[in-house]
Symmetry: C2
Subunit: 255 residues, 2 copies
């Protein structure tokens, strides 16, 4: 009943078009991890976005009037804000240094998840490049999972995570943005507690619990360990989609 989290070694810098399945499979060999049925790979969105060519140079972006307005409110680059708006449904909150949005993918986060760190800048170009989230992280997870299942011959799960801030607490935590082959939410309603009383409502966000735990090994700075292998996830693997983790608007007291 033990959970073992192992960061994969020697994942190279990822570029657009790279075959992540092959790269992770090779890294599993180098880390001397044999994939077993029920294992999960937790993958930082950053390497998926890079492999999918989601880098955008700010010189290619023309801000709208609204982007200029929000850029002023947030003291950010209007071209970055334009990208944030393109990636978002609603803008929830702004203030100097911060823009919190509902991403088109359904979750609430800062800057629409657009990332400026660990991005190799083009020395030929004086403008900065930024990295958008994958277009469809569930599909990215599914593709990677199929690839790893083909290499290994066993049933695995893939979790795509990013680092999100929280409403009332300091610091970021690893958080699910896409998944394939494991539950996002595990519904314990109707099970009995220790004394046989029926639990009224308990749904555990087990994918987010795993995202956070695995994120401990990824660090946020220069560690270069964007993939963590997990053995011992205690919930039954099943087909699922990310959106089971999204609180519907009409159940949301803070949007």
């Amino acid at each position: 009943m033990t959970i073992v989290l192992t960061p994969l070694e020697k994942i190279p810098l990822i570029q657009a078009g790279d075959n992540l399945g092959e790269i992770i499979w090779r890294s599993l060999q180098m880390t001397e991890v044999n994939l077993e049925g029920g294992d999960i790979l937790v993958v930082a969105q950053k390497i998926i976005s890079k492999s999918e060519g989601r880098m955008v140079n700010l010189s290619t972006v023309t801000p709208s009037k609204r982007a200029y307005q929000l850029a002023k409110e947030t003291e950010k680059d209007a071209r970055l804000i334009e990208l944030v708006l393109m990636e978002s449904g609603d803008v929830l909150r702004t203030r100097p240094g911060t823009i919190i949005v509902e991403h088109k993918l359904g979750f609430v986060c800062a800057n629409a998840g657009i990332d400026r760190s660990n991005i190799l800048q083009d020395p030929e170009c004086e403008d900065e490049s930024v990295l958008l989230l994958p277009v469809n992280p569930d599909e990215s997870a599914e593709k990677l999972r199929r690839s790893l299942e083909t290499y290994s011959g066993v049933r695995v799960g893939v979790l795509v995570i990013d680092s999100h801030g929280r409403a009332w607490r300091m610091g970021v935590v690893g958080t699910t943005i896409g998944l394939s082959g494991l539950p996002g939410l595990e519904d314990l309603r109707g099970q009995a507690d220790l004394f046989g009383e029926t639990l009224k409502i308990t749904q555990v966000a087990c994918a987010d619990e795993l995202a956070a735990g695995a994120s401990l090994l990824m660090g946020q700075a220069g560690e270069g360990t964007p993939v963590v292998h997990v053995r011992g996830f205690p919930y039954r693997l099943r087909e699922a989609a990310f959106d089971e983790l999204v609180r519907p608007r009409d159940m949301d007291l803070f949007r």
Copy 2:
């Protein structure tokens, strides 16, 4: 660089006055875990609250006028609401079935963390008993840590966790409410990223990441595994207090 999470075996049902340090130390032997310097014990608040006698029978509670009003809005027992108010600073949101408060301890949560599951009810008493959070979870963690350090002779950390819902996402996740001997927040500001660019602001809520990961092994129903041993926490252990995880009110966009 691997993290290993091991649920401790044979923790008995905890009652007021129980010596948790001794119980956990015995359980470590039974689980065949030798404590090493740098190890962390993650402990569900429920067993700490029980050992500290934080059970309250609702028959002993007289609701205030405000409690009756909120009980109507939330469709909850007015005596439970009275306890919620006693444990809380502000009430942030209510609606049928839900009351979200700022707990006196600083964090935002539902029902002030008051728990009705896994509580052994007194058959002599027709009213229900509920369990309040520990009065000072940092102190509870500190006391438990000193006890385990005395038994083992090595430096450890203790994390006290509860299950919290989130503003925009479904499901609960294990979340820190007290700690001793490990950082709540790790400040990566000023460190260089993969390409040597200086990170602007990244603070990782490493205690919450660990709380979530360890919580996977506690389940929410009848598993009876309220303590998880952690080896391989990748941040340097240090003296810290829970409140470094609380977002100050003036930095909070959602309170």
